[in-house]
Amino acid sequence: MTGIEQIAAAFAGHGKRAALMPYLMAGFPDLDSSRRIGLAAADAGADLLELGVPFSDPLADGPMIHMAGTRALEAGVHTAEVLALARELAPAAPLVLMCYANPILARGVERFADELAAAGASGLIVPDLPLEEAPAVAGACEDRGLALVPLVAPTTPDDRLEAIGRRARGFLYAVSLLGTTGERHGLADSFASVVARAAAHTDVPVAVGFGIATGAHAVEAARAGADGVIVGSRLIRAAAEAHDRGEDPAPSVGAVVEELAAALATEPSR
């Protein structure tokens, strides 16, 4: 199966109200812990895994993910180690790498795509590579059956959404709000409309992320028509808090993923 096919199968076969896609930061709190966090998340009901590559200047990320990336870099995590980690996690669940543009360009687009495919990853998300800058990376992914997953935002107008939706592979990532990643009290007003507009403009599943932190949020997203939900900062916080208490972060993250999976699996009580 190609990466694109693996993602399609994950969205088709999860048996939940929406596919659950936990985000974890490679190398946070350290490389081995992040490996165990990924495995724990898969065990706890993750349908896909999103693996973040630490970057020095993460413009789309709020304080929690920024902190995790900074800590990973301070500990000396390199791209080669992140790709090795991807190789260990990919058998547990279809894996999508989240990486800013510069580490990809620095390695060379073709080489990066080769190594990603060799690691058994299914796709790639590049938060600072809009449609206009994407052709080289899109081509390299396409050649290897990898999904380049584009993002759309509440500000994206319909004609642009259409162009992005047409080129989406794997799934379309709907950013739920105006802002960076991070937990919020509630979902933004913009969230239902961006999900609906995204779905109307693409043939691939729509997963919603940014600000989704609780089972209730996840259910609300599924109700609004999202085919998948992405949860990041909440899980990074769980890992950070456990680590700071001197505990193994993997079970803590696993417990939160289990809650989210349970919420998505059952009819919510109102």
């Binding site: 390199h78 791209t79 580490p103 206009e132 800058e133 500000t155 642009r160 105006l178 802002g179």
Partner: protein
């Protein structure tokens, strides 16, 4: 004002490497600028403010004693005499007028030396706009007078505590604010960096420096300068200066970066001079200090305005094409030029243009120099004293 196409790329450099959320805002900004620059109502108002309010045209000064030292005439373009004390106000006035025209009542800015922050706060006070400025805590420490000025002008200054707590992180924080508030806010970037259309927009707003200086030196000397020299942080005063001379093939364009503690150390701010693989920082592909993995490295310079690991994409293009050359000057040499200009001419320069001055003093083989004195040095007095280990002015 230029009416040429607004460039997205300069050769391979530039582009728009930003989160999707910002793409419509960049398109809106480009369309607004495309219209405004052709609209006499806009350009007249900008010209009037640059004149009556900001003090343009700034003088071109023949620095007689510096000229004696190097053995040929050296002219200083006196941006230090502009309102707020640096060239940054040229850009801030233009962008804040544009923000108002777009109906955006809130302006976000980043600042390193504090000069762009002060300029943005000033323009916002004048135009009755809300102003939010991001500044690293290290820069807040070393450029304290400018923090007080921003506060007086009614701006809100947010302290940035990430990374090296300097300009790179301030730009990142400003972009994150813009992502969250893009509908009612304009991001007034302070240099010729960032995603398109910013590098072209900032250059066009700063080219008044070069246009004036070119006419002034022709009038005074009856000829063009042999060399045009300007410091390069992000590259706005230099690109504004250089732009006027692109077609004058006989004029050498020299951009002076910060060599910090030396180009052979890792502590400098000279991505153009150092060379190396281009990379993406803050939305555009250009010269950047980075490691093997594409992680952006921290810069270092004694001058907060040059303490940045990137440079505008048009500079990378000018370097590759050979139209401009880039050199670098250390902290120590910049401090030396800072003191020499003060004593020789009674002009205390900002530490940023002190880099350009030093290069001209150290490379005297020319017939006629034009140097951009991009700002005044009041903001740097505490920093200079600290660097020298002085307790006060040197006794004489």
């Amino acid at each position: 004002m230029s009416t040429e196409a607004i460039e997205h790329r300069f050769g391979p450099y530039g582009g728009q490497y930003v989160p999707e959320t910002l793409m419509p805002a960049l398109a809106e900004l480009e369309a607004a600028w495309e219209q405004a620059r052709r609209d006499p109502q806009f350009t007249d108002e900008l010209d009037r403010l640059l004149g009556d309010y900001a003090g343009r045209p700034t003088p071109l000064y023949l620095a007689a004693r510096v000229s004696d030292v190097v053995g040929h005439p050296v002219y200083l373009k006196r941006e230090d005499l502009m309102h707020t004390g640096s060239h940054k106000l040229n850009n801030a006035l233009g962008q804040c007028l544009l923000a108002r025209r777009m109906g955006k009542r809130r302006v976000i800015a980043e600042t390193g030396a504090g000069q762009h922050g002060v300029a943005a706060a000033t323009a916002c006070a004048l135009l009755d706009l809300e102003c939010v400025v991001y500044m690293g805590s290290e820069d807040i420490r070393r450029q304290a007078p400018n923090v007080q000025r921003m506060d007086l002008l009614g701006a809100t200054v947010h302290t940035v505590e990430t990374g090296a707590r300097t300009l790179k992180e301030a730009v990142s924080a400003a972009i994150r604010d813009w992502v969250a508030n893009v509908e009612d806010s304009h991001y007034a970037i302070g240099s010729a960096v960032g995603p398109a259309p910013y590098p072209a927009l900032v250059r066009d707003l700063q080219r008044v420096i070069g246009d004036e200086a070119r006419a002034q030196i022709l009038e005074r000397e009856g000829r063009l300068p042999e060399r045009v020299i300007a410091c390069v942080g992000g590259g706005s005063n230099s690109i504004g200066m250089f732009r006027a001379f692109y077609e004058d093939a006989e004029v050498a364009l020299v951009g002076v970066e910060a060599a910090g503690e030396g180009l052979d150390s890792t502590r400098h701010g000279a991505p153009l001079t150092a060379g190396g693989r281009p990379g993406v920082l803050h939305g555009s592909l250009s010269a950047v200090l980075q490691d093997e993995d594409g992680q952006i490295l921290e810069a270092h310079s004694i001058s907060a305005g040059l303490d940045y690991p990137g440079a505008g994409p048009e500079h990378a293009f000018l370097r590759d094409s050979g139209r401009a050359r880039y050199v670098a000057v250390t902290d120590r040499d910049a401090l030396d030029a800072f003191a020499r200009l003060s004593r020789l001419e009674g002009i205390v320069p900002a530490l940023e243009p002190a880099h350009a001055l030093h290069w001209a003093l150290a490379n005297p083989h020319a017939e006629l120099d034009l140097i951009c004195l991009s700002g005044r040095g009041d903001k740097d007095l505490a920093q200079v004293r600290e660097a020298r280990g002085d307790d006060g002015p040197a006794p004489r």
